[in-house]
Symmetry: C2
Subunit: 344 residues, 2 copies
DNA sequence: AGTTGTTATTTTAGCGCTAACATTTCTGTT
DNA sequence: AACAGAAATGTTAGCGCTAAAATAACAACT
C-alpha cells in the first residue's frame, strides 16, 4: 500500500504517512492513530513501538486529513477590527493563551472597522469549519448574523454586553455604563464645561460617548460644541490635534474625556506645549487604562477594562462548550474600574 | 451519489457538498470546483447556474478537503515572540495585509521569547503543512532549524539581517549597526558618560547593545557600570525603575540609550518627576520610533525601524516564491533611520 | 470447558475535494 | 463535409486520516 505512493499517477509528495508508520511498527494505521491521539487506549508495548517508528521516519501528521476525517478542525476563528491596536492585541493574547494550551489553532482576521469586511471574513472563515468563532461586538450585518446562526458552532461576541441580544455567548463590559461612570465622576469633581474627544468611532466608542453625554445632559451640562469626533484612526498625535479643535470651538472647556488613552496622551502632551496646567486649568481622562497611563505626568485618570481577561474568558467559554458542557450564564459582564489619578 | 450521504453509516453532518451543488446545477462536481476556483475555464452559462445552486443550497466549501486533495493549505505560519507587543503587532499587520489579499490564511503562534517554545510551535505548525513559514530572528534551536530545512517550504526569517546565514529568505535590519549609529550620534553630540537601559533582552536587543557598546569602547567611553539590563518584559514603568538603578550606580551619567521606546517614555516621565532636564542634564534616546515618540515632551530621539514594511516584504517574498518565481536577492536589509529630536 | 464481559486491535468505508487524464463539444479552416 | 485544434466538461482515483463496526485476545466467572 505504502509503495503505491510512488506510482506515476499519485499526487503525493512522498510524505511519510500514518500507514508508513504503521507498517514499520507492525500494526494497523488505526492503531497508530490511536497511539498518537488517545494513548491510553493502546498497550504500552505498541505505544513505544509506534513512538520509535514516528521518530525514525520523521512522521508529521497531516491536519487537513485529520480535519476531514474527523469532521472537526481544532481551530477557532477570531474576527477583530485590527491586530495592530493595543486594545485588541491584549484581547488576542488572552484568547491565544487558552486556545493554544488546549491544542486549538487560531485563525485571525482583521475587519479594519468595516462591517462589510467583517461579513466576508466570517464567510471565509466558515470554509475552515472552525470549531468555534469569536467576533467583536454585538452589531453586525444581518447576513453575517444569519451565517453565524446557521453555522451550528459556538459563537462568542466579545468586548461589549447589554446592547443587543447575543447570537450565542457574550463577554464584555458595558461601554455605555463606563462612559456614564466617567461623566458622573467628572461632575462630582466639580467640572462643568466638559468636552469629549473621539476618533475611530466604532460602536463601542460611540456608546461610551452616549453614556457620557446622557449623564451630562441629565445634569444640564451638555454642550454640543464640546463634542469633537473624527472617524480617523486614533493616534497620540491626533489627540493633540483634536484638543486644538476643541479649544478653538470652546476655549472655556474645563475638562475633557478622551475616548481612549492614546488620545489622552496626545492631549496631555499638547497641554504641556501650550502651558495648560492639568488638572487645574483642564482636567483630562482616558479609557482602557493602558500600562503607560499610570506613569505619564500627570498620571491619567482612566477606565480600566479587563482586555486580557475578556479574551481569556471568551476562549474558556468556547472550550467548555466544545467539551459539551452547558453554559448556565451565556452573557458575562466583566465590569470596569474607574482609576482616579492626577489628571482629573 | 449525493443521496449516499444520508445513509446510516455516514459520518457526515449533512453538510452541503460540491456534488450537491453539482447535481442541482446539472454538471459534474469537477466543473463546480472549477467554476469556483478557476472561473475563466468554465462557460458563462455554467458559471451562473453554479452560482445559483451555491446560493440556493448555502454551500460552504470545505478547506480541509481542498487542502488534502490539492496538497496545499493556503496558509502561512507566523512565529513571533508575542502578539501583544506593539513592535510585532505592526509586523503582523504587514504580513496580514499581503497574505489576506492573496487568499492566504495566517496561523499565528507566540514563543514568549522562549527558544524551546519556538521549536515546539514550529513542529506543531508543520502539521498544517503551511505553504510558507515566517519566523522571528536568525537564532533558533538546531532542531527547529533542521525541521525548517527539511520541510521543503519557503521560510522567511524576519526582523534582523547580517548575523548568521539564513535558512532560506531573510528580511530585516542590522540591529548591531543601528545601535552603533546611535552611539556615534551621541558621541558626536558631545555626550561622554553614556548609559544603556535594556529589558526583555532578546537577541535583537542584545545586538543593539553590542553595536552601541562597541562604538563607545572604541571611543574609550565604555563604562560597565552604566549598562543596566533585565530580562523582565519591558514596560513604561520599568523604564523609570531602570533609570533609578542607573542613576544610583552612576549619578553623573549624561545620556542614556534605551533599548526601546517604551523604556524611553518611562525614563522621560521619571525625569519629569525628578526634575531632571532633558536633554540639558540627561539626554535620552529610544528605539523603534513608535508613533508617540514624535509627540512626547521632549520629543524622543529614536531609531525608526520599518516594522510594517518588514512584514509586508517578508510576505511578498513568500508569495513570489509560491508563484514559482526565483528570488534573486534572498536577503533584504530594509535599513533604519535615526530620528534626531529634542531629547538628545 | 463454556459463557460472559472487557480490552486491544483490525477492517471497512468514507470525509469532500482536486490532479490527471479522457472525452465531448465547439470553433475555424480547407 | 471533413478535419485539426482549442475549449469545455466528465471520469477516475486518490489525498491521509478517523468513525464505526467487526474481530481477536484476554481475563473472570460459573
Amino acid at each position: 500500500m505504502a509503495s503505491k505512493s510512488s506510482q506515476s499517477r499519485s499526487r503525493s509528495k512522498g510524505r511519510v504517512t500514518l500507514s508508513d508508520v504503521a507498517s514499520m511498527a507492525g500494526v494497523s494505521s488505526m492503531t497508530v492513530s490511536r497511539a498518537l491521539n488517545d494513548p491510553e487506549r493502546v498497550s504500552e508495548q505498541v505505544r513505544s513501538r509506534v513512538r520509535e517508528a514516528v521518530e525514525a521516519l520523521g512522521y508529521i501528521p497531516n491536519r487537513a486529513a485529520r480535519s476531514l476525517a474527523g469532521q472537526r478542525s481544532y481551530s477557532i476563528a477570531v474576527v477583530i477590527p485590527s491586530v495592530s491596536n493595543a486594545v485588541f492585541s491584549n484581547v488576542i493574547k488572552g484568547i491565544y493563551d487558552v486556545c493554544s494550551a488546549r491544542g486549538y489553532e487560531i485563525l485571525m482576521g482583521n475587519t479594519y472597522y468595516s462591517v462589510q469586511q467583517e461579513s466576508s471574513l466570517i464567510a471565509k472563515f466558515l470554509t475552515h469549519h472552525p470549531d468555534g468563532l469569536i467576533v467583536t461586538g454585538l452589531n453586525m450585518a444581518d447576513s453575517a448574523r444569519a451565517l453565524l446562526q446557521g453555522a451550528g458552532i459556538p459563537v462568542v461576541q466579545l468586548m461589549e454586553v447589554g446592547e443587543a441580544e447575543p447570537i450565542d455567548l457574550n463577554v464584555g463590559i458595558s461601554h455605555r455604563d463606563a462612559g456614564a461612570a466617567m461623566a458622573r465622576y467628572m461632575l462630582d469633581r466639580g467640572y462643568r464645561r466638559i468636552g469629549v474627544l473621539g476618533a475611530q468611532m466604532d460602536y463601542r466608542a460611540q456608546r461610551r460617548i452616549q453614556g457620557f453625554v446622557n449623564v451630562l445632559a441629565d445634569a444640564g451640562r451638555y454642550d454640543e460644541a464640546r463634542i469633537v469626533t473624527t472617524s480617523e484612526p486614533s493616534t497620540v498625535h491626533l489627540g493633540g490635534q483634536l484638543l486644538g479643535d476643541l479649544l478653538s470651538a470652546a476655549p472655556d472647556t474645563d475638562a475633557v474625556f478622551c475616548i481612549n488613552d492614546d488620545l489622552a496622551y496626545g492631549v496631555i502632551y499638547e497641554c504641556q506645549r501650550r502651558h495648560i496646567r492639568i488638572p487645574q486649568q483642564l482636567a483630562v481622562a482616558g479609557f482602557n487604562d493602558l500600562e503607560a497611563s499610570a506613569c505619564i505626568n500627570p498620571s491619567l485618570t482612566s477606565v480600566s477594562t479587563p482586555l486580557y481577561e475578556m479574551g481569556r474568558v471568551a476562549a474558556q467559554m468556547l472550550m467548555r462548550r466544545l467539551d459539551g458542557e452547558t453554559i448556565e450564564q451565556p452573557v458575562v459582564d466583566l465590569g470596569f474600574e474607574l482609576r482616579a489619578r492626577e489628571s482629573a
